[in-house]
């Protein structure tokens, strides 16, 4: 046990088995981002997947919305220690978007309107683990929460779920993104508490 803080009681909560180590439950939906919220007009919005071989797969807003969607209900975990349970989203599974993508790449660099980037292994985007989400809790996704569309990868700390997502570059080598270059963990598994580089 670490240092004991005299007089600290704390507040034990239920649902502990769903809370990764070091996280606390919040009912709110806090916002964390590094710069101004980009405003992306829907008529100019697009999402791309660029393969390591230089092929570009492209969807505009209407095309994205015409794809079959799913409505995942997931727990999300922010590295700043809040977790929110049972969040309800609607979006397109990346399995759908990757259906016609031929690639042998192992890594993905996700990039956003506004310049944000984050990296993760490609396999963490596939097999029902990730979505391009455009609705939250029954409403169109608000700009401050990443609208018109954000990546949703709930099994990793939430900074990996890039807001204002614009595309994915597939790479043969791991390329650290924005927070990953600034001292945060390259992978970010909340259950292994991979918050910072070296954790």
């Amino acid at each position: 046990m670490g240092i004991i803080s005299r007089g600290f009681q704390g507040r034990r909560r239920g649902d502990d088995e769903r809370l990764p180590p070091g996280q606390y439950l919040t009912e709110d939906f806090p916002v964390l981002s590094a710069g101004p919220t980009p405003r992306v007009p829907l008529d100019r919005w697009e999402f791309t997947i660029d393969t390591e071989g230089g092929q570009v797969h492209r969807w505009n807003w209407q095309e994205l919305r015409a794809l079959p969607s799913e409505t995942p209900t997931v727990d999300i975990h922010c590295v700043t220690t809040w977790s929110k349970l049972d969040t309800r989203w609607q979006g397109v599974s990346l399995d759908v978007l990757f259906e016609d993508v031929e690639t042998a790449a192992e890594y993905a660099l996700v990039h956003s309107y506004g310049g944000y980037t984050t990296n993760l292994p490609l396999e963490d985007l596939l097999d029902g683990k990730a979505w391009i989400a455009y609705r939250y809790d029954g409403e169109e996704l608000e700009p401050r929460h990443g609208g018109p569309a954000r990546l949703l990868v709930p099994h990793l700390y939430f900074w990996k779920s890039a807001k204002w997502v614009r595309g994915i570059r597939l790479l043969n080598e791991d390329w650290p993104g924005f927070w990953e270059t600034a001292g945060y963990h390259d992978y970010g598994d909340p259950w292994r508490e991979q918050r910072y580089e070296g954790d």
């Binding site: 710069g35 101004p36 001292g183 580089e197």
Partner: protein, 233 residues
């Protein structure tokens, strides 16, 4: 990079900032130093081993100094603001965050925009400027509800050459204040030339202030934001 380790931190001094916020100064042997704008993770352990952890911005350029606002239904802030006494201990890990930072070697003029408790990391930048005897022009626009909510009131009122401080009162202005109470506007932030902008506060405030900065023509790439607290809206 070496793994960030938890270090014991002993409370040595307390300063009341407002009726519900106080500054805590800790002695942390081996603290590696930090840049203004960075934060620390704080871990509290109860005597049965239960732990709680939060992140707080560092308020000063040296050592571990935090200013904590009590959240009435919070788990950690009531302990830090009401229970903890000098001599008590907790653990810290950091510094964390390499983006929302000001480097004293950077000569670009700086515009700081604070909403409420968001002034804390910006105060660290102002204090670092003073400590490094920097001549970089700084401007702080600090939005608070009322004079009773103002942190660091005496320090901000003291003359600091090259630093321009304006306080924007949103609900209640003090007697003699020319600007009527009201939300932050573009006029409060202008006129402004090119500057590195740092905006910190609750989400709604940061959204609004960053939007005003873009309206005024600031380059989005030079507007850094830090948000905290529940959205509450």
């Amino acid at each position: 990079m070496a793994r960030l380790t938890w270090r014991p931190a002993r409370l040595v001094k307390v300063r009341e900032e407002t009726a519900s916020a106080r500054t805590l100064v800790f002695d942390v042997p081996g603290w590696p130093g930090h840049l203004p704008g960075q934060h620390v993770d704080v871990r509290l352990t109860a005597d049965d081993g239960y732990t709680a952890r939060r992140s707080y911005s560092l308020a000063g350029p040296d050592g571990v100094e935090l200013t904590v606002q009590r959240v009435d239904d919070g788990e950690v802030s009531p302990y830090l603001t009401e229970v903890m006494r000098p001599g008590d201990e907790l653990e810290v890990r950091g510094p964390v965050g390499g983006w929302f930072v000001w480097r004293p070697a950077n000569p670009a003029p700086v515009l700081l925009v604070a909403g409420g408790a968001g002034v804390v990391p910006l105060m660290a930048m102002l204090r670092a400027r003073r400590a490094s005897r920097s001549a970089t022009p700084f401007r702080l626009v600090y939005s608070v509800r009322s004079p009773e909510q103002l942190y660091y009131a005496d320090e901000l009122a003291a003359p600091d050459p090259g630093v321009d401080v304006s306080v924007v009162y949103t609900r209640t202005a003090p007697d003699g204040e020319a600007r009527p109470a009201g939300r932050l506007t573009a006029a409060d932030l202008g006129p402004s030339g090119e500057a590195d902008c740092y905006v910190c506060g609750p989400t709604g405030f940061v959204e609004a202030a960053a939007g005003l900065l873009l309206e005024l023509g600031h380059d989005p790439a030079r507007v850094r934001t830090e948000r905290f607290g529940p959205t509450g809206e």
